[in-house]
């Protein structure tokens, strides 16, 4: 699965949301968060695709300019061996985002399978699946990831993404189970059951379409989780150090004491990139959250409007827009 494909998947989730006329109306007013999120994420995805082609230098090529601060020749300076930091950043974007999106996709698939079937079928099997996701939720991820990846020193990014997703699916499964439990009792599901629909059809066509927003948020959350943990693992020296990623840059910066020689241009940019991607994903998540729960949106109103509705007295304002 490619980055573009993933992007299309994420976008189609958003489109499903917008297809709802009520949601679409709301969307017009609060799209700022979603817009900024999509633009920033989109820019990084483009860099992920074209990064290796536009990088001014070979990221691994050793140069004579050692630990040079940012200049016209090296926009983000150089490392201890004279490698160009900007080129490393551009080339490293692809693997970082790939791990994020692959892990997000696998983990979301797992959480749908476990969460929805646990909520829909209920009974002892459902309880057992719920227990399983709670167990995975409590176990701290990093030590487990370290123990797992340390046995696989040359692991490909696919394998790393798969391992990260094993520790990252439980939250989504929990939320989806709760959502499914609520949906199962709704009339349209009962009606579908009464009319003899098969279970897989009810799940695919009655339940899942109503969980689009939840699936989207849990996917975005897992992508962020995977990007953070991939950087952390590589930073510790696990996984494949020869594969350029943002974590790799941080790993070499830390091991060559970039900090104590004051080479801020070496370790600030990769962390900033991670934070920017993360912020974009969180903004998208907030945008979707506010679509589902309009109460959270009071932030968009002016102080005066709020006062008129008693919002500054701690009472939730109810305002309806024409159309």
């Amino acid at each position: 699965m490619t980055v573009q494909h993933e992007k299309a998947l994420a976008a189609s989730d958003g489109a499903a949301l917008l297809a709802d006329p009520v949601l679409a109306t709301r969307q017009r007013r609060l799209s700022l968060k979603i817009k900024i999120g999509l633009i920033v994420l989109g820019l990084f995805v483009i860099v992920g695709i074209i990064g290796p082609f536009v990088a001014p230098y070979d990221p691994s090529a050793i140069g004579t300019d050692i630990l040079a601060p940012p200049s016209a020749a090296h926009w983000l300076g150089t490392t201890q061996t004279g490698q160009d930091v900007l080129s490393q950043l551009l080339v490293g974007t692809r693997s970082t985002l790939l791990v994020g999106f692959i892990a997000g996709a696998i983990a979301t698939a797992l959480s749908i399978i476990v969460g929805v079937s646990s909520g829909y079928f209920g009974g002892n099997g459902g309880e057992a699946l719920s227990l399983l996701s709670n167990v995975f939720l409590v176990i701290p991820a990093l030590p487990l990831l370290v123990a797992l990846t340390s046995y696989l020193p040359q692991a490909s990014i696919w394998l790393i993404a798969a391992i990260i997703s094993v520790t990252g699916w439980a939250w989504g499964a929990r939320v989806l189970r709760a959502q499914t439990l609520a949906l199962r009792k709704r009339e349209f599901v009962q009606a579908a059951k009464a009319s003899g629909e098969r279970n897989w059809r009810i799940i695919l066509f009655e339940i899942l379409p109503n969980e689009g927003a939840v699936v989207a948020t849990s996917f975005l959350f897992t992508v962020l989780y995977a990007v953070l943990f991939y950087a952390a693992l590589v930073f510790l020296g696990l996984g494949n150090i020869n594969q350029w990623s943002w974590g790799t840059i941080l790993y070499f910066a830390q091991n060559n004491e970039a900090l104590s020689v004051g080479a801020w241009w070496w370790f600030i940019p990769p962390g900033m990139c991670i934070a920017l991607v993360g912020t974009a994903l969180s903004l998208l998540n907030f945008g979707i959250d506010e679509l589902i729960n309009p109460r959270l949106r009071a932030a968009g109103l002016s102080r005066r409007t709020l006062h008129a509705f008693g919002g500054d007295q701690g009472i939730t304002p109810v305002s309806r827009r024409p159309g």
Partner: protein, 328 residues
């Protein structure tokens, strides 16, 4: 009490799952881990039979016995507190290495997490109460904080406050030359060294509690009993804290327990960045020396510690939520 008994049962089950995972991880990996390690280590020097034995013990790996009896032997070892011998700190046992580092981690991460939860929740309450004020503008900033890798924030904080300004030490857990003790000088030094790593954990993990509390609080403020409380003419302060926040904090507290594993993962990396003498630094040492017994021991102990912390959180929850008490 039924609630607590159910929770304890759940933690026992989780502990069993973690221990069993720990047993199977080396067995599921390609090749025989002991042979793999011995061949890798023999490149850098002679491998003593004692080391091979310690590896076999650490993995409970014995080709002559069945998987089931290996599993039994593994449990027997665990109950004796035997986690094998560390390669990095040879001939110290893995258990003793972890025991030395654990108090540092519990002290630093425990304090920082509680402080972060308290501050985050409090700001969340105020941010929800004052919706539409400047506090709302600060919310996107917390989003940014939440997305930052903990360890990178640590690097930046070291660069600013330790390297550039020189206010705090760059690394370590206490001043050089001091003996580890419970004396005043040592504790003061330890507290001074803990400020930067502690502040990093607080800043990085606070945003999550803040947003969670704000969103819960916004929902609670819409309840009828809040409206009634205001209609009765109670002071804003009383309505905010005694009526709204008191109810909104329950879900936030429940998510505290669930997020603990995530926070601890990030905190371990902060320890590594600050060369703090806790588990996080030992974990890094284990990784760079391919010290598998130590890595697995750390996974096990950290998991058990998080389970213990969860149990404490559950006890507090029972105090906070009368429903949890009455279920029995």
């Amino acid at each position: 009490m039924a609630y607590l008994i159910r929770r304890i049962g759940f933690y026992l089950l989780t502990a069993w799952a973690a221990i069993t995972m720990n047993f199977f991880i080396p067995r599921l990996m390609p090749g025989n881990p002991v042979e793999l390690l011995v061949s890798r280590m023999s490149q850098s020097g002679p491998v003593t039979p004692a080391l091979i034995h310690s590896l076999s013990v650490a993995f409970g790996f014995n080709a002559h016995t069945s998987l089931l009896s290996q599993y039994g032997g593994y449990w027997a070892q665990l109950f004796h507190g035997d986690l094998g011998t560390s390669i990095t700190y040879f001939p110290s046992s893995t258990a003793s290495v972890i025991a030395t580092a654990l108090p540092w981690t519990i002290g630093l991460v425990g304090t920082a997490t509680v402080v972060a939860f308290a501050i985050g929740t409090l700001i969340g309450v105020v941010a929800a109460w004052r919706r539409g004020s400047w506090l709302d503008i600060a919310l996107p900033a917390t989003t940014f904080l939440q997305a930052i890798p903990y360890f990178w924030l640590g690097l930046v904080i070291i660069e600013v406050f330790a390297v550039t300004l020189g206010w705090f030490p760059v690394s370590g857990g206490f001043a050089q030359g001091l003996q580890e003790s419970l004396g005043g000088t040592f504790l003061r030094s330890a507290a001074y060294y803990a400020v930067l790593p502690g502040a990093t954990i607080v800043i990085a993990s606070m945003a999550g509690w803040l947003l969670g509390m704000r969103n819960m609080m916004v929902t609670t403020l819409d309840e009828d009993y809040v409206l009634v409380a205001q209609a009765k003419g109670l002071s804003n302060r009383r309505v905010m804290l005694g009526y709204a926040a008191r109810n909104a904090i329950l879900p936030n507290f429940a998510s505290f327990a669930l997020s603990l594993g995530f926070v601890v993962s990030g905190a371990l990396l902060i320890e590594y960045v600050f060369s703090y003498p806790g588990i996080g630094y030992v974990l890094f040492e284990a990784v760079s020396n391919e010290d598998y017994p130590l890595m697995q021991g750390i996974f096990l102990i950290i998991t058990l510690a998080v389970l213990g912390a969860n149990l404490i959180a559950d006890l507090v929850y029972v105090v906070l939520d009368p429903r949890a008490r009455q279920e029995a």
